[in-house]
Symmetry: C2
């Protein structure tokens, strides 16, 4: 911060932990185009590594969220806004119990404790905004037709439990004035550009992305599976909105279900057909995978995210838009 | 365990962590009268200390749940059933953030990790039943008229957040087969015998107990405050039922709202008048306490605990019974 009064026009320090990942890169690119707070925003990205030719930033720091010294240094810089996107993904957290809990559980808690130590060292003057990407994986079956804002978190994966615990910590550290925090429960982000990842949800992107790139895609579940999606562009938009929203309006419940598109795999495929034709759709090959079928069966299908809508969060309104966003933002680049 | 087949008639090891506290002592006394599993039950109590002339047990071990070595020794004994009742109480966890999170958060997690290490060392043959006393403090205002079994946990105290996190851990460790766990969300236990404790809810017992013992009691809130109660005898009954219930019937959501009595402070006082007369009620002196008023405002008032009722958990049906239980079990002794 400069020595002027107030923040407007001052340099704001923005830290994106997990800034090298897909959503982090989308968001960093968006911030380079349109600043979050002002033209003097100073952006720091932190991640295990960064893609070549990736998003511009003032600082790109390679490191591990499990490294206490690296976290201490990030926190001692007293960023005004911290976006925390880093985590072990769902499939990996499920297959590697220790790694998932170490990174998504213990390391996240240690990060909050590092923030609390620096908050104390600042005589409570430094109280960063913390925006955390949670997930609809905090929910577990059975579900109502639409999940509303008062439905319980009863995760059926370690990843979901880790996100739910992080939310509870963020809420309590916010209540105590250490941070001004918000956990946003992202829909499944689709269409992810690039390669498939270890998330069990990876196929939702694959069945659109691979065919549009002329490659075969495996469909591990039946076409009547219904799920909840938003585009990477919406994800960046959620982060931007959360980064400037007056969090007092959110009240004491600092975890939000976000808007998205509820559709079946069949509707996804129909939208792909409308946009790209039968030959592209023909590249989708059903190949049932019992593990993925079992995991996906436990996932939510639809939401009524009224609080987030009232707070101004916006996503696509149908799956055609989600595909078109991929074509515009990623396929053509 | 003996070398016979099966468990019936064998010695079952039962460990009560927090066995020196009020509920732990009630439960241990109940187990000494009527065994949980069989006449050869071996009961171990663990706590910071034990009341003089307290409940009988085969072993009474003094120690701290934050001491890794003490926990390791308890776990290496491979108890068949573990009741975990130990925690920093709500008022203290709120005033001492670090202590509350250290004991109710980190130490509980370390306990589960100690269990997991021993589970692995047993080649996954040892998988204890774990019954954990959670609390209705996992809920936060605003509430529906009655909280049902699908209402979200949005605690507004550190204690509530710590209990909610413990529940999520129990659920995930159960799902992975390390333990067979259940978190039971106790109503506010009333009438507690003995001295007032640091819980913000302490006055709910005080306004009955002190007058029945001829002493003045302070009432820090207004008489229209409605809350959710069960007796210490019911608390011991909940633990006993949870200790033998087929947990497969509980399904994947391993946290349960328990039955109780919903009543206002005015109804509590009316019941006291019915049972003990005007002179006793005259010993209650209103003395508003803004801190307690603010905390209690965030507490639940009523529940529809259908799952627990279907699973056979039972509490009192009105506040008269709760007072009578205190008179029978504690006042007359």
């Amino acid at each position: 911060m400069s020595d002027k009064d107030g923040k407007e026009g001052d340099m704001a320090k923005i830290l994106i932990i997990g800034g090298g990942g897909m959503v982090g890169q989308k968001f960093a690119t968006s911030l380079a185009d349109t600043p979050l707070l002002g033209p003097s925003d100073e952006i720091t990205l932190f991640d295990l590594g960064f893609p070549e030719g990736g998003a511009h930033a003032d600082h790109r720091i390679s490191g591990n969220v499990s490294d206490p010294l690296a976290i201490k240094q990030l926190v001692e810089d007293r960023p005004d806004v911290i976006f925390h996107l880093a985590s072990i993904v769902s499939g990996e957290a499920e297959s590697n119990f220790t790694l998932g809990w170490d990174v998504n559980g213990h390391a996240f808690w240690a990060f909050l404790e590092a923030v609390r130590a620096e908050h104390s060292a600042s005589d409570a003057l430094w109280r960063p905004r913390l925006i955390f990407t949670s997930s609809i994986a905090v929910f577990g079956a059975p579900y109502p037709e639409k999940i509303d804002d008062e439905f319980l978190s009863a995760p059926q994966t370690s990843y979901g439990a880790q996100k739910a615990i992080s939310e509870l910590l963020i809420s309590d550290y916010s209540r105590k004035g250490v941070i001004d925090g918000l956990a946003i429960r992202l829909p499944t982000i689709c269409v992810r550009p690039g390669k498939a990842n270890l998330a069990a949800s990876s196929f939702f992107s694959g069945i659109i992305r691979e065919p549009l790139n002329g490659a075969e895609a495996l469909l591990p579940v039946s076409t009547d599976v219904r799920h909840w999606h938003a585009s990477p562009r919406s994800a960046a938009g959620f982060l931007r909105h959360a980064g400037t929203l007056d969090l007092d309006l959110v009240g004491s419940r600092r975890a939000l279900n976000l808007p998205g598109v509820s559709c079946t795999v069949e509707e996804q495929i129909d939208a792909l057909r409308d946009i790209a034709g039968d030959d592209v759709v023909a590249l989708i090959r059903p190949e049932p995978d019992e593990t993925i079928i079992r995991i996906v069966k436990g996932w939510p299908r639809n939401f009524a995210p009224q609080r987030a809508i009232d707070l101004g969060f916006r996503a696509e309104s149908d799956f055609h838009q989600i595909i078109q966003t991929y074509i515009d933002d990623d396929l053509r680049r």
